[in-house]
């Protein structure tokens, strides 16, 4: 339990809200929302097996924004080193496409092509966006309710950082956009709020990367993503996480997928952090398609609990929840996807594969299929096991060492889910997997 009394807590959160309000020159509706969330925080249920008291993770808002940095060269060297950790510095050289880096609570780099802005692509820090775009009043926190959980309430009260991504009707952005979060300050909750607003028939691929210096202790990453995928729009959201062992992450993602729209959400957790608990929710309209792909590399004593609820709400809606976990050391991974068929002619599939590399590692999977109608097609499959001895023998009989053969098998195991990740990242992801496998052997 935290040493703080409720009164202390209230005044700390209030102080943070006031600081954020002043710093961001927020419109009144936002400040009201924060206060409402603060009230909710004290009433909302809290149910987290690892984070007993969210007050242990208190965000302090910086008074000053970082000065704007125009290119990667102007970043401080320690931050460049962090980008390297995710393979970003290399990738950025290849992509002229947008890159925004968010360090703690401020955007330090924003290098999107100005042309795209004229065509209707808006990428702005959430702080600026709430001032500049009245539409956010209709989008912000419309898929969450602060009373549903303490962490949702806390996020809403003290959210800082994040991004507003708006893609105008019919606009197709051909290259992926990159957004990176770095945690540098310790003892703080990073709570970025991300809104993806894809208007009808637009197309975009957003790549989010998360990392932090290795020695930040007990940090909490509490991000919230709300996606609005308009009719016929096609959105890919790829999240790469490489948290060090002290970061707890609680990503909250929700998406409304419109008629005939497509949303492909892939999360690659190379370093999931000390604990990572997520339960994304999707609502899929007529003919729409949602895909939730997760790659999890469980290491050390990490605890990962990956949920995922898909609601197939109208005829022809489809959903796929696929995860591949590689579980090493003493880590635990739980997956629990749920697909609800709420309308006829819907189709959903859950697949969960896990490769367990250590007898002390643990895997549990709980697929949930709920059909409210007669003619829905719901299915699931799960395969949990060790690397097959014959497979290893085959590769080693050609001269590969056990470590090399294991790395190859593990990389092959996750490979099918990396289909939407740009090759440069795949190369980095494979390197990280190789290192993790070697370290775990």
């Amino acid at each position: 339990m935290s040493e703080l009394t409720v009164q202390d807590a209230r005044s700390i959160i209030e102080g943070q809200i006031e600081t954020l309000k002043k710093r961001n020159k927020e419109p009144e509706w936002m400040t009201k929302l924060r206060y409402k969330a603060m009230d909710a925080f004290f009433e909302a249920p809290h149910n987290d097996p690892i984070i007993k008291d969210p007050l242990d993770y208190i965000a302090k808002a910086e008074e000053e924004m970082y000065p704007e940095v125009k290119s990667l060269d102007e970043l401080p060297p320690e931050m460049l080193a962090l980008l390297d950790r995710l393979g970003i510095a290399e990738v950025e050289k290849k992509y002229i496409a947008g890159l925004a880096v968010q360090s703690d609570t401020s955007i330090v780099l924003n290098d999107f092509l100005k042309d795209w802005r004229k065509k209707g692509l808006i990428v702005e820090s959430m702080e600026d966006a709430v001032r500049n775009y009245p539409i956010l009043k209709d989008l912000f926190l419309k898929q969450f309710n602060p009373y549903e959980s303490k962490l949702a309430a806390y996020h809403t009260a003290v959210w800082n950082g994040g991004i507003f991504l708006h893609v105008a009707q019919g606009l197709k952005v051909p290259m992926p956009l990159h957004l990176f979060f770095l945690i540098q300050n310790s003892a703080m909750a990073q709570a970025p709020h991300i809104i993806i607003h894809a208007e009808p028939n637009s197309e975009i691929h957003l790549i989010e990367g998360c990392t932090s210096p290795v020695l930040v202790r007990h940090s909490l990453h509490l991000d919230m993503t709300e996606a609005y995928i308009g009719e016929g729009a096609d959105v890919k959201l790829s999240v790469l996480q490489n948290w060090p062992e002290y970061v707890h992450t609680r990503p909250m993602t929700r998406a409304r997928i419109g008629k005939d729209a497509e949303f492909i959400n892939t999360t690659v957790s190379l370093g999931p952090g000390k604990s990572n608990i997520a339960n994304p929710k999707y609502w899929v309209d007529e003919g729409g398609y949602a895909e939730l792909n997760g790659i999890i590399l469980g290491q050390k004593d990490f605890y990962v609990d990956l949920g995922g609820e898909m609601n197939l709400d109208a005829p022809g809606a489809r959903g796929l929840n696929a995860s591949k976990s590689v579980i090493m050391d003493k880590s635990s991974v739980i997956t629990r996807g749920i697909i609800r068929a709420n309308a006829p002619k819907t189709k959903g599939h859950i697949s969960c594969d896990a490769l367990i590399l250590n007898p002390e590692a643990r895997m549990e999977t709980y697929p949930g299929l709920i059909s409210q109608v007669d003619d829905a097609e719901l299915s699931h499959e799960a395969a949990i096991g060790k690397i097959r001895e014959e497979e290893l023998f085959y590769l080693m009989s050609r001269g590969l060492k056990e470590e090399e053969a294991t790395q190859l098998i593990v990389k092959g195991f996750v490979n099918p889910l990396l289909k939407d990740i740009p090759l440069e990242f795949v190369v980095e992801i494979r390197k990280i997997i190789e290192m993790a496998v070697s370290g775990g052997m």
Partner: protein, 248 residues
């Protein structure tokens, strides 16, 4: 090069091979025939070092070194190659990535160079560039599997190539190609130990060079030349064993 002396092998506490002696010299072509269950595949897997096959007696020497306790990957790097009867499927691992790694780690060939060598060798065994992006053996036909084994042998150029029924489950055209490629490796100096039921695989091999051994109940009961193959194909193992008094 390969000396097997008084070998005894157990699988799951059951003796499969006993008092087996065989010697394969450099550049020699040996063929092992025998009915099902006579221990041919066990011999192949034991030579490669499969952990489930326990040597309880005797020894295997390769290039003057006893390899009884040497692990599989090291045997491979010493120059032993086993083309499997049932090659494994490896989900998610693309052939091109695998072969590139293999050439880099086992043959010290730079990845850029490997990317030139692999497609041209692959074409020789009818593997197109598209096929190289497929996963190892996943969804392969019988002929594709066996040709892929040969492709790996062609890239590695082992000192000793053991082939465990390269002709089983293979279409007629693949069989002819595999026979060709075995000869090619033989002519490049690779010693061959070929396990088979049929003489057909010798289509493109000069039968005069082949030394034939017949296995029964875990050891070699008869050795000879090409006539032995013809005799078995004509009369069957049963009759041959009766004539030689091999049934005890």
């Amino acid at each position: 090069m390969l000396q097997i002396k008084n070998l005894e092998v157990e699988v799951e506490n059951k003796k499969i091979i006993n008092s087996l002696n065989l010697s394969v010299g450099k550049g020699e072509f040996h063929m092992i025939m025998g009915p099902n269950g006579s221990g041919k595949s066990t011999l192949a897997l034991t030579l490669m070092g499969h952990p489930n096959y326990k040597i309880t007696n005797g020894k295997i020497e390769f290039d003057g070194r006893v390899i009884n306790d040497i692990p599989v990957d090291e045997r491979a790097r010493m120059g032993i190659f086993l083309a499997f009867q049932h090659p494994e499927d490896i989900e998610g691992v693309k052939i091109i990535d695998y072969l590139r790694l293999l050439l880099e780690k086992v043959k010290s060939i730079e990845p850029a160079k490997a990317l030139q060598i692999i497609p041209s060798k692959a074409r020789e065994v009818w593997f197109s560039a598209d096929m190289l992006s497929r996963y190892i053996n996943v969804g392969f036909s019988g002929g594709e599997r066996k040709r892929f084994e040969i492709l790996q042998a062609l890239l590695i150029k082992p000192k000793l190539l053991i082939l465990d029924e390269p002709d089983s489950g293979v279409d007629i055209d693949s069989l002819s190609l595999i026979s060709h490629k075995i000869r090619e490796l033989y002519e490049q100096g690779t010693s061959i130990l070929l396990i088979t039921h049929y003489g057909r695989i010798l289509e493109h091999v000069d039968p005069k060079i082949v030394r034939v051994h017949i296995m029964k109940d875990g050891h070699i009961v008869m050795s000879g030349k090409e006539e032995l193959v013809e005799k078995i194909e004509k009369e069957g193992f049963k009759k041959v064993f009766e004539e030689c008094g091999c049934n005890e």
